[in-house]
């Protein structure tokens, strides 16, 4: 089966600092993949390139067979709104909107009516167990609730791929466990493919497979560090 999202030989530098030095990745429908590595190994950059937030310097990204990396910002923005979902470490919800309005926003941006969008939002908030937070603003929610609302917002457009960057980084163990469980469940139910970037092995354990980055490249050993010997 051909992959849903595939990347070949991605390179990206920030000025003179290389972040990615040729990374390949294949993602299939419904699978959950973890991307691990030390800080600065290029995990987040990889995520940004895959989701179209950044354009890679070299290499290609294909989504459903179409090339993604050489398209316009407007096209990629549209894609992020309709076919991709993004979940970051800090929810980045809009602080003055209520949870329901935050979740409804992507649908409204896509041209949907306010009423329909809010109804869909209510459904998703219920599915993730945060229905009681619907009329509250982000400032009034706990970290775990915030991330679940952010997850609802990411999933409300029924995306083909969900990109999660350290989704539990700011949460305690139990809150993080709940978010990962829900993430796995909704991904399975919707058939969404998930890419989770994390440095935490207990979070990566929620994925079916993992790739490890080392200095912007794939590390086949999975160790994330070059092995030296002798002392």
């Amino acid at each position: 089966m051909s992959p849903l999202l595939s990347a070949r030989d991605l390179t990206k530098s920030y000025g003179v600092q290389p972040a990615l030095r040729g990374v390949d990745l294949d993602l299939h429908e419904g699978e959950i993949v973890a991307v691990r590595g030390r800080s600065g190994c290029g995990k987040s950059t990889l995520l940004h390139c895959l989701s179209g937030i950044l354009r890679p310097d070299g290499g290609q990204v294909h989504f459903r067979g179409d090339r993604l990396d050489d398209t316009s910002e407007a096209y990629r923005s549209e894609l992020r709104r309709t076919r991709f979902g993004v979940l970051l470490q800090h929810g980045h919800l809009i602080s003055e909107l209520t949870s329901a309005e935050n979740v409804a926003l992507p649908l409204m941006l896509g041209g949907g009516s306010r009423r329909a969008a809010l109804a869909a939002a209510a459904t998703w908030l219920g599915r993730l167990g945060v229905a009681e937070a619907a009329e509250q603003t982000p400032g009034q929610l706990s970290g775990g609730q915030l991330q679940r609302v952010a997850l609802a917002r990411a999933m409300v457009t029924q995306p083909a791929v969900l990109f999660a960057d350290e989704p539990t980084g700011a949460l305690d163990t139990l809150a993080g466990e709940l978010v990962m469980k829900l993430l796995g469940r909704v991904a399975r139910e919707q058939g969404t493919a998930v890419v989770v970037v994390t440095h935490d092995a207990t979070i990566a354990a929620y994925a079916e497979r993992e790739i490890v980055l080392l200095d912007g490249r794939l590390d086949p050993t999975g160790l994330g560090v070059a092995v030296a010997v002798g002392a």
Binding site: E177, K181, G184, R185, D200, A201, T202, A204, A205, Y206, A207, E208, E210, P220, T221, G222, L223, G224, V225, A226, V227, A228, V229, G230, A231
Partner: protein, 178 residues
């Protein structure tokens, strides 16, 4: 042996038969090795000899499994003392994993070390995935979850330690080289 203290703790709630004791033990410590009947009675015998439990009654049906055991005052005191003691946080480091990693890093050549370490890590992450799946899929009791968390946390600790060890040796190597 801690099995004695667990039995004392169970008896502190009220007198029990031997059979009830075994059931309660298995329920509270589901992931631990199940306690054999023989072990239950030998432990109870030891406790009775030391005056920490006493036989409280006999059912008509008779037989050792129908004997009710109860905790004594001394038993309670011993239990209190045990609970008040802190478990010495791993004063001695004994681990097969530690030995193997140390040897691999210090003695083997880089290629073989990498092969072993990579395989070890895969084993750990594989087991972690299994346990995580377990947590998500089945309806587990709190006792089960606590035990699974224990396992996961320790596996994670092993992995983190492994990472640190690799980095230490790599840094040392760089220093030595330069």
């Amino acid at each position: 042996m801690s099995a004695s203290y667990v039995l004392l703790g169970l008896l502190a709630r009220g007198p029990k038969h031997g059979y009830e004791l075994k059931q309660a033990y298995d329920q509270r410590l589901p992931r631990a090795k199940p306690l054999a009947f023989g072990q239950v009675y030998s432990t109870l015998g030891r406790l009775e000899r030391d005056g920490l439990v006493t036989q409280a009654g006999q059912d008509q049906a008779g037989g050792p499994e129908r004997t009710t055991f109860a905790i004594t005052g001394d038993g309670r005191a011993t239990l209190e003392t045990w609970l008040a003691e802190v478990e010495a946080p791993a004063p001695y480091v004994t681990s097969a994993l530690l030995s193997k990693v140390v040897v691999a890093l210090l003695v083997a050549d880089p290629a073989r070390a990498t092969t072993y370490l990579s395989a070890q890590q895969q084993a750990h992450t594989g087991r972690m995935r299994e346990l995580t799946r377990l947590k998500s899929e089945q309806d587990l009791t709190v006792g089960d979850l606590i035990a699974v968390d224990y396992a996961l946390t320790h596996l994670d600790a092993d992995l983190r330690w492994l990472q640190t060890a690799l980095h230490r040796v790599a840094d040392l190597h760089r220093e030595v080289q330069s």
